[in-house]
Symmetry: C2
Subunit: 252 residues, 2 copies
């Protein structure tokens, strides 16, 4: 497999950094090709702005990103990451959960690399999405370090269920341009994680890496699969009994 | 009132920029004090890293941010924003919905300004949160421009319900350090928004600004209010009939 590891932590000696190393080592030991996008190490520019586009006539910001994509004038760092995504069979995003989402630098990787024309269309130039798109046939998985304890992220936990917190990333970012999304690898209670539990977590992660190809993706519903009406609402009666909210969009 | 407007769009002539101007003009006309944090214009640094902390001995990244907060060695831009938050009665976040969340530069405002010790505690130094905390007594509201159409963000819409997409911001970022969260001001279908609808939207926004003080916040449950057990799960039977997921954490 060709595996792209996108990694965001300001400190290489962090837990997130250590787990990234564990994953990469195991993937290479298993014979896979690995590319690492180390956002902090490469000084990734986090904020999307018109400097990303080169010279384009379009003034609307979103459409300008599409024009730059089609004209080949996107900045070099963005084009390199688009090429990495097209090269990969599997994309891993390694990050700590900061304020219930990814760190800004990784959000900036998404904002800048998933341009109009590449990852999404706009207005009259809509592209296929949700289960179809430029990254169809690829698989993606999150590896997330979470400071708090697991019960507070459970079905009734005060932070909200972790599957719902991650839905905007899983479904909204990864499934949107066509990737199949594997169940995330989550490490909780990292504030109190000692060396003994680290060894257990690292073993679990090695095993997860060696089993990547066998993992079943989350069964999100393709937008073009007949489940949605013309206004893109789920047709009545398609959902599992009791499902609601984000839960409607995964088949049971 | 003292109103802090935090605004993120790379182009001043964008819809988001125009609506920010409408809001600020009305607030000032109504006699309020307004400060504007224009993240792009000020060249806000989006990525959190150890340069934010000055010289601290702590090596753990999160704890280092707490040490820098307590030592007064946080970088000047971060301290200025913490001071703005303490000055404000009301905080407005103006941004376009990019990949179902805020732009990276605004996430970087949260990641860097909401430091350990200020907005949250860690481990043995937990701070009050969810309805209590450093920003208690303040109110916050999102003003969000959304490219897609409203039905696709409704209860059964393919993107997921907008209230759930915004929950990690509303509850996880704003309510967490104690702010009351007002219902968001949302503009849909911005790709197709012409000048006539702009005028209507601007009128609605002016009215919203003039009514800010009367708006009822979302009734999230305070963590310290007796609704949660020791593992921070909602006690059985507290929720409205049929509520689940994020919906558990707002009283009906």
């Amino acid at each position: 497999m060709n595996v792209l590891v996108v990694y965001a932590h300001p400190k290489p000696d962090s837990l997130t950094g250590a787990l990234k190393d564990v994953a990469v080592q195991q993937l290479r030991a298993d014979g896979h090709q690995v590319r690492i996008t180390d956002l902090y190490a490469m000084g990734w520019k986090a904020h999307a702005d018109p400097d990303d586009f080169g010279v384009v006539e379009e003034t609307n910001f979103m459409l300008a990103s599409g024009a730059a994509y089609h004209n080949g004038t996107l900045s070099t760092d963005i084009r390199a990451e688009q090429e990495n995504l097209l090269w990969a069979d599997t994309v891993l995003l390694h990050f700590p959960l900061w304020w219930f989402s990814m760190p800004a630098i990784m959000k900036g990787w998404v904002d800048r690399v998933f341009t109009c024309g590449f990852a999404y269309g706009a207005g009259g130039n809509a592209l296929p999405r949700y289960g179809a798109g430029v990254l169809a046939g690829r698989r993606a998985m999150l590896v997330v370090s979470i400071g708090g304890r697991e019960p507070s992220y459970s079905d009734r936990g005060v932070n909200g269920p972790v599957d719902d917190l991650l839905f905007p990333i899983h479904h909204g970012i990864l499934y949107y341009p066509g990737m199949d999304v594997l169940p995330p690898f989550l490490v909780y209670d990292t504030i109190r994680l000692g060396s003994e539990r680290f060894d257990e977590v690292a073993d679990d992660l090695r095993q997860r890496m060696s089993n990547l190809a066998k993992l079943e993706p989350i069964r999100y519903r393709p937008q073009g699969g007949g489940d949605y009406d013309r206004s893109l609402r789920l047709e009545p009666g398609r959902e599992a009994k009791g499902a609601s909210g984000f839960g409607l969009h995964a088949a049971s």
